[in-house]
């Protein structure tokens, strides 16, 4: 038992929000670390007045492994599995980010087939991750059914990943210098089948959840994050685009082969409320799935036979130097600041987890929300604690 003082800044009440002559007791509510809608072991201390939240203070670190310290003790190749555990819903994208960082510093060129495979798998994983995000967002809003539908589709992707890599969640498939092994025969055909099946399903989810009146009432005009605020707090990914900023690394600073593909950047337009509300952030994810399908189709068309690995030694040794490299993950920009002293393991590897930065806006948006809106807000920010706590 330890007493932790919770500090609140002096001005908690907004003007005219609470009638001051009726004495109401503030209730300090400990949301998490075990709570269904904190999406992991996040703990938020809520100071509430009835159902009104006056202040929210997140406490992190329940899933802290100090991956950055681990990185300094293992070789580059050995660290790839640890990147799986960062954003465990988008392990392919994490693998890709780390591999690209190391390849950038090492100046490694990788063969085109590996590049396209990487794009396909990363985009498939983006779909899987967004399915999880949108489905569980429905669950946060009390709609149970969309989650199961989304899982049904995600199951396909998991099967595709299993066929390619042998794993269903932590793939370590995209490695330094290419991909670990080639996809099995008939895989691309199955992938196309999935895309044909999946595309019309998105409309179905929209009819079921996105355009549901209650759902719109719950999410539109809730947790409004104007574009300036989003940029100031370093929001990236769907959270930033939901605020109406058309910023996507895949388009703005294309990495891997993204420059070759046609796709749009969906942004929040304030369709049912104000730009940057929860509904916008949610719907950007839905629209991104459509774009991912487009990218995968183009990449599948360009996928030709060839080697899938560059000539990279078993123990990678990088020249001394440093690099900061970012990729567009489903949740935002995943950055690796890699400092090498010429050895076989990083001298310092700083990981910028997009969820970590996105979550930092919670204390700003939470005041004057209702208790139920906190679930809406957290779900729309879509955090993965593995990445927040690293």
């Amino acid at each position: 038992m330890k007493e932790i003082e919770v500090h609140y800044p002096p001005e908690v009440l907004q003007e005219g929000e609470v009638p001051s002559d009726i004495r109401t007791e503030e209730l300090v509510l400990n949301m998490g670390p075990q709570h269904p809608s904190t999406h992991g072991v996040l703990r938020v201390i809520l100071q509430t007045d009835g159902e009104l939240v006056l202040k929210a203070t997140p406490y992190l670190g329940y899933l802290h492994r100090c991956a950055e310290k681990i990185a300094e003790k293992v070789t580059y190749r050995q660290f790839t599995p640890y990147t799986d555990r960062l954003d465990y819903l988008a392990a392919m994208n994490n693998n890709l980010g780390f591999a690209l960082t190391v390849e950038k510093l090492g100046g490694i060129e990788i063969p085109p087939r590996a590049d396209y495979l990487r794009v396909i798998l990363a985009e498939l994983n983006r779909i899987a991750s967004h399915l999880m995000a949108t489905g569980s967002y429905g669950l946060d809003m009390g709609a149970f059914t969309p989650l199961i539908y989304c899982f049904r589709e995600r199951e396909w992707i998991m099967d595709l990943f299993e066929a390619a890599s042998g794993a269903r969640l932590t793939y370590s498939y995209i490695t330094i210098g290419g991909v670990r092994e080639d996809v099995p025969e008939g895989w691309t055909q199955k992938c196309r089948e999935f895309l044909d099946y999946f595309e019309p399903k998105i409309t179905e989810y929209n009819n079921l959840l996105s355009f549901n009146h209650i759902f719109i009432q719950r999410t539109a005009n809730v947790g409004i994050c104007p574009p300036e605020l989003a940029l100031a707090y370093g929001l990236t990914g769907p959270c930033l685009r939901g605020s109406g900023v058309p910023w996507d690394l895949r388009k703005a600073m294309p990495y891997s082969r993204y420059g070759e593909f046609q796709f749009d950047i969906p942004v929040g337009r304030g369709t049912y409320g104000t730009v940057g509300d929860c509904w916008d952030r949610y719907f950007v994810r839905v629209e991104e799935m459509v774009q991912s399908v487009r990218i995968i189709r183009q990449a599948l068309d360009k996928l030709a036979d060839g080697p899938i690995q560059a000539k990279v030694p078993r123990v990678v040794k990088l020249p001394a130097g440093e690099v900061y490299y970012e990729v567009e993950n489903p949740r935002g920009q995943l950055g690796f600041h890699l400092v090498s002293d010429g050895g076989t393991s990083p001298y310092r590897l700083k990981i910028r987890g997009p969820s970590f930065c996105n979550l930092s806006i919670l204390p700003v948006l939470a005041p004057n929300c209702l208790l139920a809106d906190i679930a809406a807000l957290l779900g729309s920010i879509d955090i993965v604690m593995g990445e927040v706590d690293r």
């Binding site: 007493e3 908690v12 503030e26 300090v28």
Partner: protein, 176 residues
């Protein structure tokens, strides 16, 4: 015989609940004892054949008023059950008032002319309706005006006002 038994049961429950209201220290428990008493009285109404009255007692008092009461009590005091024991001087004063009331009640009961009446016929709801909208229309409307006034007063009291206090500094310690 059976009726007497049931009467004793309900009357006894009402008395016990009444005493328990006085003796319990937690406000929420008091509220629940009050509910018990209201239900017991409703049972007595049923026993007398006044079904409409009994049902209304439960519907309005237990289902409505008591719920709001519990609701309010629950919000005001949380686990710090305030000890509601009166002080010595207070107790004397209260005892005097209670004694006067008790004596008055007992005297009036003793002096009342009790007549064995007949139980109201079964179709009591219709009769109550007729008398409320016929014989007692005036008082009935007056009561509704009174309720309206009470409602307006409540709305007036609960209206939002401009904040008068300055920025509030809140510092709270939670034990984890």
């Amino acid at each position: 015989m059976l009726e007497t038994m049931i009467f004793v049961l309900f009357a006894g429950l009402a008395v016990v609940a009444g005493i328990a209201i006085l003796l319990s220290t937690s406000i929420v428990r008091m509220a629940y004892w009050l509910i018990t008493m209201l239900v017991a009285v409703a049972g007595l109404y049923f026993l007398m054949g006044a079904y409409f009255l009994g049902v209304m007692q439960i519907l309005v008092y237990v289902g409505g008023v008591a719920v709001l009461l519990v609701f309010g009590v629950m919000l005001t005091s949380r686990q710090l059950a305030p000890t509601l024991r009166p002080g010595r001087a207070e107790a004397l004063w209260l005892a005097a008032v209670a004694a006067v009331l008790l004596v008055g009640l007992v005297l009036s009961i003793l002096h009342a002319h009790w007549q064995p009446g007949t139980i109201v016929p079964a179709n009591s709801a219709a009769e109550i309706g007729h008398s409320l909208l016929g014989e007692f229309l005036g008082p009935f409307e007056l009561v509704s005006v009174l309720l309206l006034v009470a409602m307006l007063g409540a709305a007036y009291l609960a209206r939002p006002k401009a904040p008068t206090a300055g920025p509030q500094h809140i510092k709270e310690t939670t034990v984890l």
